[in-house]
């Protein structure tokens, strides 16, 4: 479904993503783990056409989408739930959701039913300004808005950031539910342990490069991953 090869992105002289290659197949739930500043967000935003790729190619559903305008890429079926949630605080919950379906206006009614079933709290608060929702609710809204685009593939950037531990588990459960329903998911996460527990495959990002890749189970057992990202030794 998504194929990235030899992708390099830089800001001025700083090379944020170097020679990255990743693959995603339909229905897969894949995670990108790595420390803050490793280049995960840059990679996701470049796939979405926000930053210019210096080198490399991005194919989505067999089409070359490298450096295409973001709105065209979203219209093709790729949605991002951005880092920091990116909700529009002065607009209502409902308006935030409707805007998610900018390219799928005929889908708004069905999409709303779908996301309200997944997140009943959003239905109760649909007329309220999105800015007054709690952090967890805003994260749900952000995921729901991405789903309103009826995406063929969903990218999530640090959905657990700044949330209380209980809420983090809630968010991961929702993501697993989406994966079980057949959504193709690419999740960037600092919380490596949680991400690998839920995803089927993972890439480990280190200063803009992919240091390791493998199935989630293999990575969870890998000594180096444990030492660097899971905060312990293999015995734990």
């Amino acid at each position: 479904m998504l194929k990235v090869s030899g992708l390099s992105v830089s800001y001025g002289f700083i090379c944020a993503v170097k020679e990255v290659a990743i693959d995603l197949y339909e229905g897969e739930f894949v995670t990108l783990i790595g420390a803050n500043g490793a280049g995960k967000s840059t990679l996701l935003e470049t796939i979405l056409g926000v930053h210019r790729a210096d080198r490399g190619k991005i194919f989505f559903l067999g089409q070359d989408i490298t450096n295409r305008p973001t709105d065209r890429i979203v219209a093709q079926g790729l949605a991002l739930c951005p880092e920091g949630r990116g909700i529009l605080p002065f607009m209502t919950v409902l308006e935030n959701l409707e805007l998610g379906a900018f390219h799928r206006r005929e889908y708004i009614r069905e999409g709303l039913e779908n996301v309200f079933e997944l997140f009943p709290i959003l239905q109760r608060r649909k007329r309220q300004a999105a800015g007054i929702l709690s952090g967890g609710e805003q994260q749900m809204l952000s995921i729901a808005r991405a789903l309103m685009a009826a995406p063929k593939m969903l990218m999530l950037d640090e959905p657990s950031l700044g949330l209380a531990p209980l809420m983090v588990t809630e968010v991961f459960k929702v993501i697993r539910k989406l994966a079980e329903r057949g959504h193709t998911i690419l999740l960037a996460e600092q919380n490596a342990k949680k991400a690998l527990q839920y995803a089927s495959r993972g890439y480990v990002f280190e200063t803009g490069r992919i240091a390791l890749e493998g199935t989630a189970q293999d990575l969870l057992r890998d000594g180096e991953v444990i030492r660097l990202y899971l905060g312990g030794t293999a015995k734990d």
């Binding site: 926000v50 949605a79 951005p82 607009m91 308006e95 206006r105």
Partner: protein, 291 residues
């Protein structure tokens, strides 16, 4: 007392006109991230268009009004490519320089090439100077009534667009966060171009109402209105749409009352003095900046 009422009615008519001009200005500021100083100059071009069409058709408003709207819309959209490179880089202050340049060119064109720079006067059926009601010294002209209700309808239509259509919601999303708007797939460049179009339509409608209220158009009118609009926008708070509506009315009424009770030259001094003092103590404007 009667004179006061007459001045208030006049103030409401002029104020609603300012409110409409401020709305078009704020739309461009919010959605396209430009300081559109030349917006009022485009409105004056629309007034000239209406005047020429009235001359050609023997005073037909049916032709004059749509022509003004079409011309302001086209001219407004033609300026978009000039601003785009600056707006893309977020160089909003530099867009001000660009719009001053455009304003100077438009003023020059009007001074040299439109009716030889001689002020044009609109016929009676446009300016509506005839009194609709007369109570003692109070005369409320048809023009005043039409300008007030016309602008109310125009602003209401614009607000409907802003709050109940996908285009309007996209405009508001871009105004809140251009980056988020882009991430969720809103075509921000296309929406920017559309905001010039809609500001142009509002400008054309404004042109008709300014023609009614003033009864005349002249090359320097773009600057005169432009300064007032930009001062009102700062008075209300940059990009604050509702604040802009309120402050347009406040300015109109303040001007009208000063004209009624003090020598003519005081009207501008007092109105701008009020704005200067406000901005001195509240740099974010009366209602707060929204960009």
């Amino acid at each position: 007392m009667e004179a006061l009422i007459a001045q208030l009615v006049n103030g409401l008519a002029i104020g609603s006109l300012y409110a409409l001009l401020v709305t078009g200005f704020n739309l461009l500021l919010l959605v396209s991230a430009v300081v559109p100083y030349a917006y009022t100059h485009i409105v004056v071009i629309g007034m000239y268009t209406a005047w020429f069409v009235l001359q050609l058709t023997g005073g037909s408003l049916v032709w004059a009004v749509p022509s003004a709207v079409v011309v302001t819309t086209v001219v407004s959209m033609l300026t978009e490519p000039l601003f785009r490179p600056l707006a893309k880089k977020g160089a909003i202050n530099q867009t001000f320089v660009m719009s001053i340049g455009i304003a100077m060119i438009l003023t020059h064109v009007m001074a040299r090439h439109l009716h030889h720079g001689i002020p044009v006067a609109f016929p009676e059926n446009v300016s509506g100077r005839m009194a609709a009601f007369q109570f003692g010294v109070i005369a409320v002209s048809r023009g005043q009534i039409f300008v007030f209700f016309g602008t109310v309808v125009a602003v209401a239509a614009f607000m409907f667009l802003l709050y109940h259509t996908m285009i309007g919601k996209s405009f508001r999303a871009i105004a809140q966060s251009p980056f988020v708007a882009k991430l969720i797939g809103i075509p921000t460049v296309k929406m920017g171009i559309m905001s010039y179009g809609i500001a142009g339509v509002l400008g054309g409608v404004s042109a008709v109402f300014v023609a009614m209220a003033l009864g005349t158009a002249y090359p320097a009118l773009g600057d005169a209105l432009g300064l007032k609009v930009i001062a009102t926008v700062l008075f209300a708070g940059l990009g604050n749409l509702n604040g802009g509506l309120a402050c347009g009315l406040i300015l109109g009424i303040a001007e009208s009352l000063t004209t009624g009770y003090l020598p003519g030259m005081w009207s501008n001094a007092l109105a701008f003095g009020m704005i200067m003092v406000t901005v001195m103590f509240r740099p974010q404007g009366l209602f707060g900046t929204r960009i």
